[in-house]
């Protein structure tokens, strides 16, 4: 029978099918961090069980870490306690631990691919919903809860009903100044935040074939924001070139690589395979996007006005509550809205390409006086490249400061909080009420839009500055 890419990977990992219940799914690689793992380890301890395959789990500290002065002890005692728990649990159970200050440290979904933990056709989970990022490699990757973290530690399996399958095709080519982030925000604005709930998405079409791995990661990262469990893109030459030779990839010459390569080549949807749902959009119609509300589905092309409540799906009172929170009105222009903060970083847009894009606009310009900007690389590798490629000089000259790797203002668990009432153009993934700090107001956008806002102090079409 014809199969989709998703079927092939999923079916290849089912250890057992439970009658009237979920599938028992084997997990190849498991990523953990300090926030969602401590209670899972407590569970293991109280049951008196060991980690079944410690070599398949990797720990990094990211959610709750400071992004300045990482060499100093962490001040917040609760955060310090979580970091200590991650370290001692990892040590006790024999798990690789990349703590604060470790050269491999960084955001879990940035370091996973960088070190080849992420592999085509693998199953990957982590107690963080943006685990969907790794789907860019043709992996089945999704976020799980803490009970499931405990399951994976104990048995390397979780129990999940098989999701339905959706394919999203984007034809044509992207316009000038339009980035993978815009593609993702566009799709979510079309499908809404619940439009793909219950589905696993495959992205297909020329736009994705032409995309770099970094871009594909940005798109897959945001799959969760339309409700999907995850999203994936079939591996091709671009994928294989990226994976080859990385530390945790199958060794690049010899039998292991040949075997892996043979497997990678099988990872595509058969021509006559059927999806439960399918959408097609024309990529050439996508504009640089920006959000105006309190969920990622509330996004529009940057030149557009905020829609009327009547023209959007969902309840009017919920819509009004959202605009009220943002201090916006129906019919407002987005262009020209003054902003206070710019955040570039997170597992959505904290990779080297994102900083290159940011630099392409701020080069030769100056940071606007009314803007506080946080530039937070996704990992030490990204940080090192920023320096190597001379981007840091560009940033410094334009009045920006580079911080140290971590999740930072993406979820504002550390001190990087946007103050109440302030507007932030943010390259992260969520604009929920208070996501970036109590009372913060987030406008999600691409690194180009963020850069344009950072130098003009207001929402600006980046195409005018490129």
């Amino acid at each position: 029978m014809s199969k989709t890419l998703f079927d092939k990977v999923w079916d290849g990992h089912v250890v057992r099918k439970i009658e009237g219940g979920p599938d028992v799914l084997f997990i190849d690689r498991h990523l953990i961090h300090e926030v969602t793992s401590p209670v899972a380890f407590l569970g293991l301890k109280s049951r008196g069980i060991k980690v079944l395959y410690p070599e398949r789990t990797f720990a990094t500290a990211d959610h709750n870490t400071p992004t300045i002065n990482q060499h100093l002890p962490v001040e917040d005692p609760l955060s310090a306690n979580q970091l200590k728990a991650l370290e001692s649990n990892s040590n006790e159970y024999g798990i690789s631990h990349w703590g604060l200050g470790h050269q491999k440290n960084g955001i879990v979904h940035v370091v996973g691919p960088e070190y080849g933990i992420t592999q085509p056709g693998a199953t990957i989970v982590c107690g963080d919903s943006h685990t969907s990022t790794h789907g860019a490699f043709g992996a089945i990757a999704f976020g799980i809860g803490t009970s499931e973290v405990e399951m994976v530690l104990a048995t390397q399996c979780i129990m999940q009903p098989k999701p339905q399958k959706m394919r999203i095709n984007i034809t044509g080519s992207l316009g000038y100044g339009v980035t993978p982030k815009d593609v993702a925000l566009f799709i979510i604005s079309q499908l809404t935040t619940s439009g793909a709930t219950g589905y696993f998405v495959e992205y297909a079409g020329k736009v994705f074939e032409e995309m770099t791995m970094e871009g594909r990661m940005t798109v897959c990262n945001l799959s969760i924001e339309m409700g999907a469990r995850g999203g994936m893109i079939a591996p091709d030459e671009t994928t294989i070139n990226y994976v080859k030779g990385r530390e945790f990839s199958p060794s690049a010459d010899g039998e292991a690589w040949d075997k892996a390569l043979a497997y990678y080549k099988t990872l595509k949807t058969d021509d006559d395979a059927v999806f439960d749902k399918e959408y097609t959009f024309d990529g050439s119609l996508i504009e640089p996007m920006i959000t105006y509300g309190t969920n990622p589905g509330m996004g529009i092309g940057i030149s557009k006005d905020i829609p009327d409540a009547g023209s959007v799906e969902g309840g009017v009172s919920t819509y009004e509550k959202s605009l009220n929170y943002m201090g916006f009105h129906e019919g407002d222009h987005m262009i020209g809205k003054p902003i206070d903060y710019v955040f570039i970083g997170s597992c959505t847009n904290g990779r080297i390409e994102d900083f290159r894009a940011f630099a392409s606009i701020v080069k030769g310009r100056k940071k606007a006086d009314n803007v506080t900007a946080w530039l937070v690389p996704g990992s030490h590798i990204v940080e090192a490249k920023i320096k190597e490629e001379g981007l840091l000089d560009i940033f410094t000259e334009a009045g920006f400061v580079l911080r140290q790797p971590g999740c930072s203002a993406c979820l504002a668990m550390n001190d990087d909080k946007i103050p109440a009432g302030k507007y932030a153009v943010s390259t992260s993934n969520r604009n929920f009420e208070g996501r970036q700090g109590p009372g913060s107001r987030t406008l999600l956008a691409s690194p180009l839009v963020a850069a344009a806002a950072a130098v003009t102090g207001k929402v600006t079409d980046p195409r005018e500055l490129l």
Partner: protein
């Protein structure tokens, strides 16, 4: 972690008629710093429930003594966003045993089932009727019968059935969790792992 068995729940309900309630609202990230599973109920809906100085916001439903009970009524697409299981813990810890909505986000639904909170998905029309009745009379009771997979609005007798896999239903009715099951198939898992291509 063990939880109380779920059979029949008859209770009044707390209405929260807002759509797309995300887990950042259910429990904001800054309250995720604990390394043990205690005290999350105190911060359930923290920023909707309290002012920044810690005083309660009187117009939020959890601060309105008229509404109480073990059932939380939510709008469409309840539990979207972050995968934090802490959201489900906060709901359980506060004292809710079931959440009723016309649509749930996937990860949230799974987390609830894993820790003993029953997500009950019903039609939008029925949900609307329950909201109306509960607003009219906060003493209105709702009965959720897990064995029969039905939910009944006792004031009107209106009833709907809801979906749950027989495996999860069994777990909830007995207070079991998945690890108990998986632990018993360890050798099968190890044999499986040995034949994987990567």
């Amino acid at each position: 972690m063990a939880y109380d068995k779920f059979t029949i729940l008859k209770s009044t309900a707390v209405p929260l008629p807002i759509e797309n309630v995300d887990t950042d609202q259910i429990i904001p990230a800054r309250f995720l710093k604990a390394t043990e599973r205690v005290g999350f109920g105190d911060n359930l809906f923290r920023d909707w429930r309290y002012n920044t100085d810690g005083t309660p916001k009187t117009d939020f439903v959890l601060n309105n003594p008229t509404y109480k009970g073990k059932i939380l009524l939510g709008g469409k697409n309840f539990g979207s966003g972050s995968s934090r299981e802490h959201a489900a813990w906060a709901i359980y810890d506060y004292g809710f045993r079931a959440v009723v909505s016309s649509f749930f986000a996937d990860i949230f639904r799974g987390n609830c089932l894993n820790i003993g909170v029953l997500p009950v998905q019903i039609s939008p029309a029925f949900l609307e009727n329950i909201f109306t009745e509960v607003h009219k009379n906060p003493e209105t009771e709702i009965e959720i019968d897990l064995k029969a997979q039905t939910i009944t609005l006792l004031a009107t007798g209106e009833k709907e059935s809801f979906d749950i896999s027989s495996y999860k239903k069994d777990n909830m009715m007995n207070g079991f969790d998945d690890i108990d099951y998986l632990q018993n198939m360890k050798s099968e898992i190890q044999e499986f792992a040995a034949q994987l291509p990567i």
